[in-house]
C-alpha cells in the first residue's frame, strides 16, 4: 500500500436534491428535512454508516475530523443543520448540508483514485434510487457553486513532494498545472508552509470532461510528478549534508521532550524521505503517515481525552512521537 510519494487518494462527489434550494438559501426546517431524507436513504445502503448530527458532537471531535480530512473546515465552522454519515473505518463519508446537500467522499491510502471513484460512484448510484438529484442534460449535476457543475467530482491525491518542494520546483509547476485544469497546494497552511512538503493535487475542471478522463488525466500528472520527485530525491541524497539532515531529524524526534506541530511535521517529512531512500530502515512509511495525522492539536487532545494548553500539547506530542518511533 505504501508508496514513496503518494500518501492518499480522495474522490468526492457533490450532489443536490432537486426539490430543495441549495444550502445557502435553505430554511432551518428545510435543512432538517434534507438531513432526514438523506439519513433514510443512507440507512438502505449495504455499507454500515454511523450517522451523527454535527450539533451533537464536541468541538474537539469536530476539529479532529477536519484534521483527519473527514470533513471540511467550513463544515466544522457552523454545525447547525448539518450531519455526517461515516463508515467505521472512515474511508467513506457523506457530509450533509455542506456547500451542497450531499458531499460523498471516499479516501483510500496510496494511489487508488480508480478504486475510490468506483466506491463513490456506487454509493451515488444507490442513493439516487431514493433521492432525486438535481441534474441538467447540458450542465450535468447542478451545484451551489458553478465551479463544481458537471460531474461534481473533485479527485485529489496527497503527495509528499519534499525534494521538489525543497528545490522550489512545485511553485513553478503549479502555474503550468493551472493551465491544464489542475491545482496543487500545500496541505498545512496555504503556500507559506512549504516545509511540510505535503501537497494536494486535484482536478479543477468538472464540466465537459467525464469522471473517467478526469481521473486518468490526474493520474498521469500524478505519476509524472512522482517520477520527477524520485529523481530529485536521488540527487539530493548524494549530498552528505542532506543525509546528515535526515539522521539529525530522526535524532530529534527520538529524544525531544517538547515539539511544536510545525517542527514535528518538518522532521517527520525528512524521516519519511530517509525511509523511502533506504537511509532509515526500522520505521515504516505507514507509521510516519499515521503520526502526521495523530500529532495534530485536536487529534492529540482527543487521544488524551482532555483539553491541553499549547505547551502541554508540545509535551504530549513529543512523548507520542518518541514512543511510536522507538
Amino acid at each position: 500500500m505504501s508508496e514513496p510519494v503518494v500518501i492518499s487518494s480522495r474522490v468526492r462527489l457533490a450532489r443536490n436534491l432537486a426539490d430543495y434550494p441549495f444550502p445557502c438559501r435553505m430554511t432551518d426546517a428545510q435543512r432538517a428535512e434534507v438531513v432526514e431524507k438523506v439519513r433514510l436513504a443512507v440507512k438502505n445502503l449495504p455499507d454500515e454508516f454511523m450517522f451523527v448530527l454535527m450539533e451533537d458532537i464536541s468541538e474537539l471531535d469536530t476539529v479532529a475530523m477536519v484534521e483527519r480530512h473527514l470533513i471540511s473546515p467550513d463544515f466544522a465552522d457552523s454545525t447547525k443543520g448539518r450531519a455526517l454519515a461515516v463508515t467505521k473505518d472512515e474511508s467513506i463519508s457523506i457530509m450533509i448540508n455542506e456547500e451542497d446537500h450531499l458531499r460523498i467522499q471516499v479516501i483510500k491510502p496510496g494511489l487508488s483514485l480508480k478504486e475510490a471513484y468506483d466506491i463513490a460512484d456506487r454509493i451515488d448510484t444507490e442513493l439516487q434510487r431514493e433521492l432525486h438529484f438535481a441534474f441538467d442534460n447540458k450542465l450535468g449535476y447542478l451545484t451551489q457553486c458553478p465551479t463544481n457543475l458537471g460531474t461534481g467530482m473533485r479527485a485529489s491525491v496527497m503527495m509528499h513532494l519534499c525534494a521538489l518542494g525543497e528545490s522550489h520546483a512545485v511553485s513553478r509547476i503549479a502555474g503550468n498545472l493551472g493551465k491544464l485544469g489542475f491545482v496543487i497546494r500545500g496541505t498545512y497552511g496555504e503556500g507559506s508552509d512549504a516545509s511540510s512538503a505535503l501537497y494536494q493535487l486535484s482536478n479543477q475542471v468538472t464540466l465537459g470532461i467525464s469522471e473517467k478522463s478526469a481521473i486518468e488525466n490526474l493520474m498521469n500528472i500524478c505519476n509524472q510528478l512522482a517520477e520527477s520527485e524520485l529523481n530529485t530525491r536521488a540527487r539530493l541524497m548524494e549530498s552528505m549534508e542532506y543525509q546528515d539532515k535526515i539522521s539529525r531529524s530522526m535524532g530529534i524526534l527520538l529524544t525531544a521532550r517538547l515539539i511544536s506541530h510545525a517542527e514535528a511535521v518538518k522532521l517527520l517529512s525528512n524521516v519519511r524521505l530517509g525511509i523511502t531512500e533506504g537511509l532509515i530502515e526500522d520505521v515504516s512509511i505507514e507509521t510516519i503517515d499515521s503520526l502526521m495525522l495523530s500529532i495534530q492539536p485536536a487529534s492529540l487532545m482527543r487521544a488524551q481525552g482532555k483539553k491541553l494548553t499549547p505547551s502541554e500539547r508540545d509535551k504530549a506530542r513529543a512523548q507520542l512521537i518518541r514512543e511510536t518511533l522507538r
Binding site: 434550494p21 447540458k138 450535468g140 449535476y141 447542478l142 475542471v205 465537459g208 469522471e211 473517467k212
Partner: protein, 172 residues
C-alpha cells in the same frame, strides 16, 4: 456587394466602429442596418450586434434583465448570485442561464456536461462520453452578448474571432 448579415440584399450602409481598440467594419443592407439600430444618427448609444438583434426580435416580450428579475423558486436575483458566488437553487441555472454561461465557460472552458447522468449511470465508462463537445455558434453568440453587457471586451473580442472563424469554416 451583398449585405454581410442577410447575404441577400445589396449593402448600402457602411458601419465602422472601434471596439476595445480594434477596428471593425460591416457592410449592411438598409433593412439589416435598421434592424440593428445603425440607421439612427441621433442615437449615439449603438446597441451591440447581437443584443440589439435579440431585443428587436422579442420586443417588449423579453423582460428587462435587471436586479429585479428573480428566480421563481428561491427568489435569488442574478445580483445575489454574482455577489456571493453561490447559486440559489437548481432552477436558477435555468432562470439565469445566459448570465451564468460566460462565467461557467471561464471556469471550465466548456459548457456541456459529459459523464455520468442519473438516467445512464454507466455512461462515464463509454469512450464516446470522453469526447469534449464544442460550443455552437448560437451559444457563443449568447455569450458574446453577455460579455459585451458586462463590458468584458477582451473576452468579447476573443469570442467574436471564434464566431467569425466558425462561420467562415461552415461557409467554405
Amino acid at each position: 456587394m451583398k449585405c454581410q448579415k442577410c447575404k441577400v440584399k445589396n449593402a448600402t450602409t457602411q458601419v465602422k466602429r472601434v471596439v476595445n481598440g480594434e477596428y471593425e467594419e460591416y457592410m449592411l443592407c438598409a433593412d439589416c442596418a435598421h434592424e440593428m439600430g445603425f440607421d439612427n444618427i441621433f442615437d449615439n448609444s449603438m446597441p451591440d450586434m447581437f443584443g440589439g438583434l435579440i431585443k428587436s426580435l422579442f420586443g417588449t416580450a423579453l423582460p428587462a434583465r435587471s436586479q429585479a428579475t428573480r428566480c421563481p423558486v428561491c427568489g435569488s436575483s442574478f445580483g445575489d448570485i454574482s455577489n456571493t458566488g453561490k447559486v440559489g437553487c437548481a432552477k436558477c441555472y435555468e432562470a439565469f442561464l445566459s448570465d451564468l454561461l460566460p462565467s461557467i465557460r471561464r471556469i471550465h472552458g466548456n459548457t456541456t456536461h459529459c459523464g455520468k447522468s442519473p438516467e445512464s449511470p454507466a455512461i462515464s465508462d463509454k469512450s464516446v462520453a470522453d469526447m469534449p463537445t464544442s460550443p455552437t455558434v448560437q451559444e457563443l453568440k449568447a455569450e458574446l452578448e453577455q460579455a459585451v453587457k458586462e463590458q468584458n471586451f477582451e473576452y468579447a473580442a476573443q469570442l467574436r474571432d471564434k464566431i467569425k472563424e466558425m462561420e467562415e469554416s461552415t461557409n467554405e
